[in-house]
Each structure stands twice: as structure tokens, then as C-alpha cells.
Symmetry: C2
Subunit: 342 residues, 2 copies
Amino acid sequence: MNKGQVTITDIARELGISPSTVSKALHGHPDISVSTKVAVRDLAEKWNYKPDQIALSLQSGLSKIIGVIVPEIVHYFFSTVISGIEDLAHDSGYHVMFCQSNESYEREVKSVNTLLSCRVDGILVSLSKGTHEFDHFNKIRRNGIPLVFFDRICCEIETDRVVVDDEAGACEAVKHLINSGCRNIVHLSGPQYLQIGKNRKEGYLRAHDELNLPVDNNNIIRCDTPEETRLVVPELLKRANRPDGFFAVNDLTAAAAMSVIKESGLRVPEDILLVGFTSGMISDITSPTLSSVEQHGYQMGREAVRLLIDRLEKNRESPYQTVVIKTELVVKESSVCCNNKY
Amino acid sequence: MNKGQVTITDIARELGISPSTVSKALHGHPDISVSTKVAVRDLAEKWNYKPDQIALSLQSGLSKIIGVIVPEIVHYFFSTVISGIEDLAHDSGYHVMFCQSNESYEREVKSVNTLLSCRVDGILVSLSKGTHEFDHFNKIRRNGIPLVFFDRICCEIETDRVVVDDEAGACEAVKHLINSGCRNIVHLSGPQYLQIGKNRKEGYLRAHDELNLPVDNNNIIRCDTPEETRLVVPELLKRANRPDGFFAVNDLTAAAAMSVIKESGLRVPEDILLVGFTSGMISDITSPTLSSVEQHGYQMGREAVRLLIDRLEKNRESPYQTVVIKTELVVKESSVCCNNKY
DNA sequence: ACAATCATTTCAAACGTTTGCGGAACTATT
DNA sequence: AATAGTTCCGCAAACGTTTGAAATGATTGT
């Protein structure tokens, strides 16, 4: 009508009744006569009345907003997680407000404060690499706001969590390499101060252990970027006992390794088998396509939201849960070789 | 303290003064005595008082929230744009609430309603593929809320816009191929009902035109996914006059084309040169690395926010602007060949 | 001494909504 | 005709904040 959105008071004025009557009519309160209800609803419909979320929030103390903090959106994995968060949140009547920490502790703390002052109902966090101090999370708890960690969790804080089954995925991947005939598998590993780096290495070790094969510690190489790969892998290929398989901590590294291997005149998968981690676009565009461990980011996002909303709307005091998302080995061309030696 | 956040009233009660005095003291209002100011500020500091954004919003009618609607976050390009939006918005004291349309008209309309009921101060939109009806955008305007389109703009609605200089980028890329010796360049093109598909084809045509070379219409092929590429490109390579260059509408397609070419025994860049579009991670992990046109998504995001905040905080009635982000050809290995024939 | 001036503080309204309680106007019961 | 019971509606407070206007108390001027 005039300017901005229609309010309950506009409708009341037009109908010559009080705002409270309009509110009750809209909510089907039994006190209100049928004729008034009809009149109010018709006019609300006609004027396209939508309740003001902000006023509702102030009134109820609930914002219906979920805050999300991720290290970076530009990562394929995180954008799939966000996608899952967004979808389930919207379907449940919540809005999503998100912040990037850009892997920096200071920005993470700032993001927490931002979300807190917005009075979000709950917060979802994946830790930044730079965070080794956790008091800002205690502050969230002190404010009585539920917190759920996903992927990069914080062990120091007791709360709901969603993690991916890294170790099992890594183990499955390495067993697959072993069963395909590899006996000299290099693990291009991530930093060991991050849980994911540690877990994936554990999986590599456990696979060897369970299949009763020895592990050569020289085969565990700290290398998780394409740049490092171009430096490190050529050396590995020159070894007397050349590696016959690579298990990389992420797909970018795996793809770079593939390039290096092919440039050196060796073939994938005929000479060397290769498996990556975090199956995404990348694994489809390499040649041959790259076997990889799928992390189901979308599902992880939904699960985190579900955990949060459960706590918000059901019993706030129920015991904390940790949901484990199963990984899945997606076998493509880079690890399938017919001339199995065993 | 007790529960939840500290309010201005808590401070007032503690100090035995009225809430309005606290508010004024916090704002440095000249009416308030220095001693009171000091007392209030000290206690606010001690109790870590943060003003309630929701109450402020209700009061001022301003939410300090920017709504964003994108087709999908999982695209590298869009996630870089979002990253830029988020960074500048936060630095300017705004929060970001975002929605995905998932390329669906219905979800786009729903997202608009969501953002409107949240009373966002302004909205940033990149059109979904499924949107051919624009009345929901007029509704935003009728509510007096500024609107900025970015990347996938809507020509039917007069408003601020940020676009990328697709055509110039495509033209530069193709000229680069021509100048590197190509005389038979295939364009793997996108759908022509999307502006980007059209613009990039125009760039291809203009490059030929400006360098006085004829265009063979058989060289313009509708193909913009890896799957299509694997079907289409092998045929092209069998032609009598085999293409000596490819310009693809996106990097995924370009990368897939590279695989197909190499599998057929031809070499990149020795036999065939290759340029893609939307320089991202992908262009670094192919072998050889892929020349591509950088779209500066991060900068586009910042620019869109700047436009919106300018309108919000400066003159709301100033004439609409269209900002063009320059593209940039990033030459890597796939298009650099020493045995230039000319 | 009385008013005018000043510094400091509080009041009250406003933003849009919800909701318990009280009230008016009926109807029904005695 | 008085009481009790219905039915329908409005009042007012509350959420946390801002802000112009009004109030308070003290000081100054004549």
C-alpha cells in the first residue's frame, strides 16, 4: 500500500478494530468471531501481509537464524556442505547467516561475535586452521546458544558433532590398492596437527596392518599441494623400488601426482595406481579419471542442521551426539588395472 | 551473568539509573555527565555488553542484512563471488543472508519472499536458468528495497548491475589463438538463451572479424559439459581439416577436450592449442596447465556490495549504474607453442 | 528573593508483534 | 429482575533500543 510492508496495525486501522484482535484472528484464536476472522484474513491476503520477522524475533527471543562459520567457501567440499545446510535449514523454516574465517583465528572470533550480536538461534562451525584457542566457543555456550561442530571439530569442547569417517575411507582406499596388486604404496599425507591429516594416515597404516603387510616409513611423505607434488614425486619415481601406488590426502594432490607420473613416461593405471580423497569435479576431468573417497559433504551439512534443530526444538538438555558420515570409495579409472600381478 | 546477553536495562538497574541514560552515555551524548559515562562504559565493558541487533533493527527499520540469491554455491565462480560479497559486507558492518535458487524459478521466488520477510536492507541476485518471469523483482522494488544484479543479469528490470566483460575476454582469447598460429579454431559453445553463451560466441566471431579471418559455422559447436565433449570432440578430430585450436565456454569442457585430444594421440599444445573460460583450480591441475579467461569473481562480489551500500547509504535516487568487470586472459601451457607456423 | 539559566537525568513514545486479563454486551437461568 | 454465564473484543505490558521533550535540582543574575 503506502510504503514498505503492510503491518498488523494497518489492517486494524482499516477494519476499525484493534491490532491485538487482528493478531488473534490471524492465529485462529477462539476468542475471535468467525466474521472478524474472515474479514481480517481476506484483507491480509489482499494486502499481502507478511509478519515482520524482526518484531517476532524481538518478541520471542528467537531469530530463526542459524549462523555458520566455515574456513573458506571456495573449497568444493565446504560449498557442498553449505549447500546441504542451506537446503535443510530453509525447509525447516530457518534462515542461514554465514561467515568465513579465512583460516584465521582472529576472523573466527570476530565471526562468533557477529553471529552472537545477531542473536542467532544456533551456530555451526568448522574450525579454521589458525585456531588453537577455544574460549570464543565457550562464550557461545555461556550465552545458551547450541553449537555444532562439523568436519574440523574441536575436541576440547563437549558438544554435538558431525564428522566424516576419514580413517575408514582411507583404509578402504588403501586396501583397494593392495588388493589391486600394489605392494609399495606411497601416502602423500597432510599436516599431522589437523585431524584429517592424522586420520587418513591412520587409515593407511591400518590397511597394511589388517592385510598383514609391512609399512615402509619412507613411503609416508608430507605433501598436500600441487606445488609440493611437483617437487617431491619426481624423486620418488627415481627410487630403486619404484612405488606402484599412490594414496593422496586430497584430489588436487592426486591430480598433480598423476600429471607428474605421466610426464615421466609412466602410465596410470598400468604402471602405477592412484587414489585421491574428496571426490569432486576434479576426479572426473583428469585423464584417466581419478578414483577417490567421497565425503558426502551435502549430507554432512544436512546432518549438522538436523542435530542443531533437534536440540533447539526438542530437548535442549539431551546428551551430546557425534554423527559419523560414512565415506565411500568411488573407483574410477586410475586404480583399475587388468594386469593384476597377484 | 544471569542468562543470555546483557541488556542496557541490566546496566541501568545495576547503576541505579535509567535505561535511556545508559543508552546516551554509550553514545557519548553531551547531556550525560562524565562520571556517569565512565561508570556506564566501565560496566558495559566488564559485562561485555553488545547491543541487540534485533532491537536496533526494529527501532531503525534497518536490518544491516544483505540478502543474496545465487543459482548454486557449488560452482567455483559463484563461491568466489560470494567470498567477495562476504568480505566487503562484513567490513562495512553488514551481515549476509543467502539463498540458493538451484536454478529453479520457484525457489527463486520463494527466496525473494524469505529475504523480504527478514527485512533485508538490500538484495543481490544472479538469475537462475529457470527464470523467465520477473515480477518477483518488481515486488522487491515496490517494497523500496534496492536490488543489484550480478553476472546473470535481468535486462527487463532497470537497476544496478555488475557484469563481466565476457565478450571482450572471449575475443582476446580467440585472438591469442589466432596470433599463435591457429587458423581453424573450434568454439565449444554454451546455450544461446543464456547471456554468457551468447556473449562468448560473439567474442569468438568478433576476433575473427577484426583480424579479417573467415568463420566456418561448422566450427561453432554446442557443447558445454565433459559428457558432451567426450561424444563430440572425437568426431571433430577426424575431420579432414582437423581443428588446430579450441576455445571452450568453460574450463570443465576445456579440460575434458584436452583429455580426449591426448587420448587420440595428438599433443597439446604442439598439435592443438586450447583455451578455456573461468580460470580456477582446474586450469592448474590439467597437464599441460590450461590457458583460460579469468573472470575476477571475488572482485565482482565486492563491486556488487559496493553498489548496493552506496545506494543504501548515499543517494538512494541516483541513476542506475552498470559496472563492467574486466576479464583477463591467463596464458598457461595449453596455448603456448614454439613452432608457430606464421 | 525570585526568576532565568544550566547541567543532568528521566519519561514516554515508537518500532511490530503476542497474549493474559479485564470488560462490555448479550443470553440464559433462576 | 437480578445473577451467572457466554461471546467477543480491547488494554496494556513485554521484547531492547533510541530520542525529543519534560522534569529535577542546582547555580547564577538582578
